[in-house]
């Protein structure tokens, strides 16, 4: 194994001190002279035609500077799937129709928050209500009302994956089971409510500071919805208080801030409140998964037939990607010789679902893993053994979809069984106690160019200085996951510099090189990391050339950047400091600044991702058999994320995943009635607290991803998937109840126990 100076070390985050001091500025912390406060009026009805809007009273209110409705705007539809314009189904402000409770109808800009709030009450909207569709069954019934005119059956996307001979696979199976699972919608619940601040420059261009994961996507879609050129819009990402997939699209308040700034000539800031976030914010797709699997008696998998319906809510958002990824993840973890997938994305009159940590994997793998545990029980095979028997390994292919370039899945399963003392624990549990296993695989960024970017997927610029420092510019977006730190670690390692030698500017679309698709799908470490390495290679070529000339080195000598020096390998005296080497290159170029560019775009990597990560998790649970309350006592995780760049960061991501997975499994849900979200605060939307978090032990399996920077791949996002099935398995072990309908509430456990007794 290669040893590194900085990669693999617990380097503190470069933004930690600013955050610890309260000095890190998030969008809502920003203030500009003359700034106005914006607010959005939202639809109180789930499905209606807008007959008439009267803003005159709101406009007459002292302090109100501007009120806009859809009619005032250029009426350009947007959506992240730019490659297929048909899928772009959303207007920044409603035109003619509203499609969910919370849909944006009008916006105001006022001198202060009080006036803005009062103005909303004065806008009069006349609706002609239409029947609402609140589940995928109702939405797909013959003759159901149409939510979008272009889509008469309300099924906006369908994706298929098929390989092998599914009928033959089942006919050769000894044991076949079919189950239907329902998984529910949950909230990203990032702590920072969304916020945007827009300013019009002196020459009419827009600058937008916004809480986003994807500055580039916001730049392009904001430009198109405003009818401006992309380069006339600058998007800057200040510090962001978490995203988890919920901040990766253009959002109406971003458009409204920019549009109102243009109309009023003054900066305008919108900040959502938590109620708006819960009421209207994006969410993880609720799905119905119908899964049929066939095994040989000895546990060998023969076939899988997976049909999924996604409850997409009122707009496509990232639903098309989630639909496809469900099918991809349905084929992951195990070798299915015959596989068929059909995924349908259905419109309903509910807040749109979109990308959320795991991006289709938590739903798809819940079905996979619970079913695997059910099958193991019925076949009388240990759940660990049946997994080892079928586990994917390096080099496995999903025909026409993906090739797995590195995979330490089996090692992860073995390790987690050892760490948790699986065999003994299973035998020696008391009544009410249970232990369960769940596994995951995840992607390291996507390869499919649905956004239709004309730029590389990620780019890097390095400016090198004679004082021994470099300035690294990237559009990659640190939203709290720590990517700025990890990317600096990779660069420092490659150039033999210290962390403090690197200045970083990130996520400013006018200043950093075009482009980077943003922080989602666990793409940043691999893609932005590869872009830096590409740039660093070009810089090193120049530095090596200068040092080689200076010391008249034999052409066969290898050179290196190490410990702040550029030198012949093994002959450190034949070298100079990094700064001196930069000065030499600069001199040779007659003073021109030393600047290099690098880029990365995955090519010839199938349809999904350049690299997959894997892992296994065990949960120990105790169930109060009278109240049905399940508490998780301990979690063990072993995972393969390739080279670990920053162990503390990876562990932090892992614990965060467990918190989210715990909530998904046991307590978090949107309670809804007729399209109305009833759980609009953190008292009712039950996110686990510090008291609910179990202790967690983790082992990173030593592996190396050939496509990843220094062997790294995804870490942290995929780990949100195994927690719910592991807990469901442990609850079954403790009570006999199999949960096929998340979340696993105390009530369901009690009912399940009662039925088992019958």
């Amino acid at each position: 194994m290669q040893t590194y100076a900085i990669v693999g070390k617990n380097v503190p985050r470069n933004d930690a001190e600013a955050k610890a001091r309260g000095a890190a500025l998030y969008t809502d912390d920003l203030k500009l002279p003359g700034m106005l406060v914006g607010r959005i009026l939202r639809s109180p009805v789930a499905h209606a035609r807008i007959k008439h809007i009267d803003v005159s009273k709101a406009l007459a209110l002292p302090g109100v500077k501007c009120v806009i409705t859809g009619e005032d705007t250029p009426k350009v539809k947007y959506g992240n799937w730019r490659l297929f314009p048909d899928t772009q189904d959303e207007y920044p402000l409603a035109v003619d129709k509203v499609r969910f409770i919370g849909d944006e109808v009008a916006a105001v800009a006022a001198l202060d928050a009080d006036a803005a709030a009062e103005a909303l009450d004065l806008i009069e909207v006349e609706y002609e209500e239409l029947p609402g569709l609140f589940d995928t069954g109702a939405a797909t019934q013959e003759g159901a009302p149409v939510i979008h005119e272009y889509c008469p059956n309300n099924i906006s996307v369908n994706r298929k994956i098929q390989y092998g001979d599914i009928d033959k696979g089942f006919s050769e199976s000894d044991y076949i089971r079919e189950d239907t699972f329902h998984v529910h919608a949950v909230s990203h619940a990032y702590l920072e409510p969304c916020s945007s601040l827009a300013q019009v420059d002196l020459d009419g261009r827009i600058t937008l500071w916004t809480s986003t994961q994807t500055p580039y996507i916001v730049q392009c879609l904001l430009a198109s919805t405003l009818g401006m050129r992309e380069n006339d819009v600058r998007v800057i990402k200040p510090f962001v208080g978490g995203g988890f997939g919920g901040k990766m699209e253009l959002r109406p308040f971003e458009f409204c801030a920019a549009f109102l700034a243009k109309k009023t000539g003054r900066p305008v800031k919108f900040t959502l409140n938590r109620e708006e976030e819960f009421l209207t914010g994006r969410r993880r797709h609720a799905m119905t998964l119908h899964s049929k699997v066939g095994f040989k008696k000895d546990g060998t998998l023969m076939a899988k037939d997976l049909k999924i319906r996604l409850d997409g809510g009122a707009y496509n958002a990232m639903g098309p990607t989630a639909t496809f990824l469900c099918g991809n993840f349905g084929a992951m973890l195990y070798r299915y010789p015959n596989y068929r997938f059909l995924g349908e994305h259905v419109y309903t009159n509910k807040p749109p679902a979109s990308a959320m940590r795991g991006f289709g994997a938590p739903q798809s793998l819940y079905a996979t893993e619970v079913q695997m545990n059910m099958a193991a029980e019925e076949l009388g095979i240990d759940p660990v053994e049946i997994r080892l028997k079928n586990a994917q390994v390096t080099g496995d292919k999903i025909p026409d979809v993906a090739t797995i370039s590195s995979c330490a899945f089996k090692e992860s399963i073995q390790k987690v069984a050892e760490m948790s003392d699986w065999k003994n624990k299973r035998k020696n549990l008391k009544p009410g106690q249970g232990i369960g296993i769940g596994c995951y695989s995840f992607i390291s960024g996507g390869v499919f160019n649905w956004f239709n970017t004309q730029f590389p997927f990620s780019a890097a610029e390095i400016r090198a200085y004679a004082d021994g420092t470099v300035h690294y510019l990237t559009m990659a977006s640190d939203i709290g996951q720590g990517s700025d730190t990890v990317l600096k670690q990779i660069l420092a390692e490659e150039l033999g510099l210290r962390m403090e030698d690197i200045r970083i500017t990130s996520a400013d679309t006018a200043m950093t090189p075009q482009a980077d698709l943003g922080s989602w799908g666990s793409r940043v470490t691999l893609m932005a990391g590869n872009a830096i390495l590409d740039a660093a290679k070009k810089l090193k070529a120049q530095l090596f050339g200068a040092v080689s000339a200076r010391f008249n080195l034999n052409v066969i000598y290898e050179l290196e950047c190490k410990d702040g020096r550029v030198q012949a390998k093994g002959r450190p005296e034949k070298g100079v400091s990094f700064g001196e080497a930069v000065a030499m290159v600069q001199k040779a170029n007659r003073g021109e600044q030393v600047v290099v560019r690098g880029a990365y775009t995955p090519r010839d990597k199938g349809l999904v991702t350049p690299a997959f990560s894997f892992g296994a998790q065990v949960a120990e649970v105790e169930v109060d058999q009278e109240t049905g309350v399940a508490s998780v006592k301990q979690m063990w995780t072993a995972h393969d994320c390739g080279t670990v760049i920053n162990p503390k960061s990876v562990e932090g991501q892992l614990n965060g995943s467990i918190q989210m997975g715990l909530g998904y499994a046991l307590s978090e849900q949107f309670v809804m009635k007729d399209g109305q979200t009833l759980t609009t605060n953190f008292l009712d939307y039950k996110m686990p607290s510090a008291l609910d978090m179990p202790p967690s032990k983790v082992v990173h399996i030593d592996s190396y991803e050939p496509e990843g920077p220094m062997g790294a791949k995804e870490a942290g996002e995929g780990l949100v998937s195994p927690t719910a099935p592991a807990i469901a398995h442990a609850v079954h072990d403790a009570t006999g109840y199999w949960c096929k309908d998340l979340p696993i509430t105390p009530e369901k456990i009690l009912d399940g126990m009662k039925q088992n007794k019958k």
Partner: protein, 294 residues
């Protein structure tokens, strides 16, 4: 959430507060910790044109304990102070437990026990134990002072016996009888800190081997915190047995009138009343046995 506009006064004495309250008329509301009121006003659920803050009134602060008269808790006393007070911890462990379990640290540092009662949420954490312990409240207006049993205090969600010009000034809890015990039990679908989906307070006394003064109070299972009087009657004068505790708990469950809401279904709440009542009876009984010799 954004607060609507209102006026604010912070009197220094009870007299000034009563005057302001009377003068303020219909739109006037008392403000103690504000942890419920601010949220309700922010959501437009409660309207107020004038808030009269009572935390600045010195005479409403403090916890006093007298072994013969019992406990008095001033209306401006924080829930955190109740949870940590040595006399409450020693002589009223179930009261302290309910206080400690209320919401979270910051809320307990702002909210008052009196406010928790006056807000009259069906799920008020502190109500069941205080009901079980036979608490009374002292209520003052410009016309005079009256004392009423907490049993008669709650009228409905957010509704109490307090007249518009009255201020609840203190909560009075009688001293524990010899060989008595109380218990507080709760459950909510997440963790240990939450709004209770169901909570139960129980108090009982052992007279020889006979159970006396049995009081069972339930939270979050009816429009107000409620007594399960039929269940109490089943146990009153009977001898302790596990079977009896089961039977009494089942009766309490029958008496409860829960609804289904975002926190739990009516059916689950009813089942939990039974489980928690039994657990509370067991703990209260064990404490009573322990206190036998005291």
């Amino acid at each position: 959430m954004r607060l609507p506009k209102f006026d604010y006064v912070a009197p220094k004495t009870l007299d000034e507060a009563l005057k302001a309250l009377t003068a303020g008329g219909e739109g006037c509301r008392l403000l103690a910790g504000g942890t419920d009121l601010m949220v309700k006003m922010g959501h437009g659920l409660t309207a107020a044109s004038l808030l009269v803050a009572i935390k600045g009134i010195e005479g409403l602060h403090g916890i006093r304990f007298d072994p013969s008269k019992g406990l008095s808790i001033g209306a401006a006393t924080l829930i955190a102070e109740v949870a940590e007070h040595p006399d409450v911890l020693k002589y009223y462990p179930a009261v302290a437990q309910a206080a400690r379990k209320t919401a979270n640290t910051q809320i307990r540092n702002m909210a008052t026990l009196a406010g928790n009662l006056c807000n009259a949420a069906p799920s008020a954490d502190n109500a069941p134990v205080l009901l079980a312990r036979g608490a009374e409240v002292e209520v003052v207006s410009q016309k005079g002072t009256r004392q009423l049993s907490l049993d008669d205090f709650f009228n409905g969600p957010g509704q109490t016996e307090l007249a518009r010009d009255e201020i609840l000034t203190q909560i009075l809890v009688p001293p524990a009888a010899k060989a008595s015990g109380a218990s507080y039990q709760w459950i909510s679908p997440r963790g240990k800190v939450d709004i209770s989906a169901v909570c139960v307070g129980v108090n009982l006394r052992l007279d020889g081997d006979v159970l006396k003064d049995v009081r069972i109070a339930l939270g979050a299972v009816a429009p107000t915190p409620m007594r399960a009087t039929e269940a109490e009657a089943l146990m009153e004068g009977a001898k302790w047995s596990e079977a009896l505790a089961e039977q009494v708990s089942a009766k309490a469950s029958e008496e409860s009138r829960p609804i289904t809401d975002v926190r739990a279904s009516a059916e689950y709440r009813r089942r939990m009343v039974s489980v928690l009542t039994r657990r509370a009876l067991e703990e209260a009984h064990a404490r009573a046995v322990e206190n036998w010799g005291v």
